[in-house]
């Protein structure tokens, strides 16, 4: 019996598109403070293209292959390869199935995380999307029930914890100490990703 279905995962991505579109200006504002003012428009453009291209995938690996490749080939910047690699690895690990147990879904998310780490060469504390992603997956695995709620809460705390950090990777790192005192836009969009997941799985 599958805990996570293909339909729920499609719903997840639709909700993520809606959230990044709704928060587009906010994400760009965060990126203006410490980056180059394009994170909101890039994510909204990328997820918009994803939902246009999605069609009706038959399996979970097909779904995430389309999502990953569309993000890699339509976003650019750092977000394209990072989010794209995340979804591609989720698909490869999940395989040609139409449902996953919570444990299988967790393993797929962790493969996605490993892809992000390999591509971005960052670690927790560098003030990047990993500061939301890593605690979210840890909370998912530790939760006794409703792992999506635990993951969303942890991603949000992780996002908030980026505020005092000095960025060491990505565009924000060029500001040095001046990057402290601002939320990281990548961690913020990753928290939206888990907000969307909580909505889709609840």
């Amino acid at each position: 019996m599958a805990d996570v279905t293909l339909a729920q995962l499609v719903d997840w991505l639709g909700r993520f598109r809606d959230l990044v579109t709704e928060k587009q200006s906010y994400l760009t504002e965060l990126d203006s403070a410490i980056g180059d003012a394009d994170h909101g428009s890039n994510m909204a453009r990328g997820m918009g293209t994803v939902m246009e291209k999605l069609g009706t995938p038959a399996t979970i690996d097909e779904l995430f292959k389309t999502v990953g490749m569309t993000l890699v080939t339509s976003v650019g910047g750092a977000s394209g390869p990072l989010y794209g690699t995340f979804f591609l690895r989720i698909g490869t690990t999940a395989g040609a199935v139409s449902g996953l147990t919570y444990a299988e879904f967790s393993a797929a998310l962790r493969a996605g995380l490993a892809g992000v780490i390999a591509r971005g060469k960052a670690e927790v504390g560098d003030k990047t999307m990993l500061d939301a992603l890593v605690p979210a997956l840890d909370a998912w695995d530790a939760a006794a029930s409703a792992p999506w709620d635990a993951a969303f809460a942890a991603a949000s705390s992780g996002r908030d914890a980026t505020e005092p950090l000095v960025a060491r990777k990505g565009r924000a790192s060029y500001l040095g100490d001046r990057s402290a005192g601002h939320l990281d836009p990548g961690a913020t969009s990753t928290a939206l990703l888990f907000e969307a997941l909580a909505g889709a799985l609840a």
Partner: protein, 332 residues
């Protein structure tokens, strides 16, 4: 936001239409957003490709042509292009002698070019080498950071390595030369104002009239430090000192570039070059060649950067070789 645009979403596509209209000698692939030479790369000539976010014009599309790049990929404003674009450009430009990717050290550019090289080698068997330009002395470089940004040296490197490629040097020699140029060049930039990214619709940062940003890059981001606005002579000093402190430029001839960020008029850039030239002479730096103008810009940001490159007879010969591109042209 007051800009000469139709809509913020269409800026890049509409601009490429203009590039095609203005430069019939170049080809523009509007689908993949690639600018490439009108005639195919000569067999045996290594192809040079660069690319990056748009908003830095004439970099990179304006440096496509004889003596410089074979193709350039345009990303969205300040956003690196995607690997499929670069892979397509790599295939279009390759003549069988291999392709050098010239990458500025920004996380997104590095990741996308890495993916493009993996894809091009796996799918079409093209030999791809890369140089990552990282010349910005404003940025601390350590294992714990993203490293220095690639800025002004990119322009000088594209010219010099482009001339070497026209001479028929092979991919290994071209790559080594590119690395050497990168290693012996340094830059430092400053801004008087922020720029306005069209999709954001307002200036990226606010800055009071009596302040300026030192140590800026080319993506409209604030600099390393905000300091009181000062006369040009003092600004020149604040740019030249960190560059000279980072590398000894007194050992031989130097190529110097005083680059505008896009929003400063030439009268100010020449004025700044006069100040910089004085300081360099006083420091015992012998400037053999120079460039003054807007070459690697940051949309409508007011400000400038200086770049110094240690040269030798070989580099000066390559620098003087004919070049024929929209953004740089001599000897033809």
């Amino acid at each position: 936001m007051k800009k000469l645009i139709n809509s913020p979403e269409a800026v890049l596509a509409d601009s490429l239409v203009g590039v095609a209209a203005a430069h019939p000698e170049l080809n523009v692939d509007h689908t993949n957003r690639i600018i490439y030479r009108g005639s195919p790369t000569k067999p045996g000539k290594v192809a040079l490709i660069s690319g990056g976010g748009s908003g830095h014009e004439p970099l990179h599309g304006g440096f496509v042509g004889f003596g410089m790049l074979d193709a350039a990929c345009a990303g969205e404003v300040f956003t690196s292009p995607t690997p499929d674009q670069m892979q397509e450009a790599t295939k279009v430009a390759d003549s069988g002698a291999g392709v050098l990717h010239i990458v500025k050290n920004y996380t997104g550019d590095v990741m996308n070019f890495e993916m493009a090289a993996e894809m091009a080698e796996a799918e079409s068997g093209v030999k791809v080498a890369a140089v990552v330009v990282n010349d910005d002395v404003a940025v601390e470089d350590s294992t714990w950071t993203a490293g220095r940004r690639g800025v002004g040296v990119t322009v000088l490197l594209e010219k010099i390595v482009g001339a070497a490629a026209e001479e028929g040097r092979d991919l290994a020699a071209i790559t080594e030369l590119a690395q050497r140029v990168n290693d012996t060049g340094r830059s430092m930039g400053m801004a008087l104002t922020s720029c306005t990214v069209p999709s954001a619709g307002k200036p990226t940062f606010d800055i009071p009239d009596d302040m300026m940003e030192m140590g800026v890059g080319i993506h409209g981001e604030p600099g390393r430090h905000r300091v009181p606005l000062a006369p040009a002579s003092s600004i020149a000093q604040q740019l030249v000192e960190p560059v000279l402190a980072d590398l000894d430029f007194t050992k031989g001839p130097v190529i110097a570039m005083l680059n505008g960020m896009g929003g400063s008029p030439l009268i100010e850039l020449y004025l700044m070059y006069g100040e910089v030239a004085k300081l360099l002479e006083r420091a015992g730096v012998q400037v053999a060649r120079n460039l003054v103008g807007n070459y690697i810009t940051s949309l409508d940001m007011a400000g400038c950067s200086i770049t110094l490159l240690q040269a030798d007879d070989d580099l000066l010969k390559l620098w003087d070789a004919p070049v024929n591109t929209p953004g740089l042209r001599w000897g033809v």
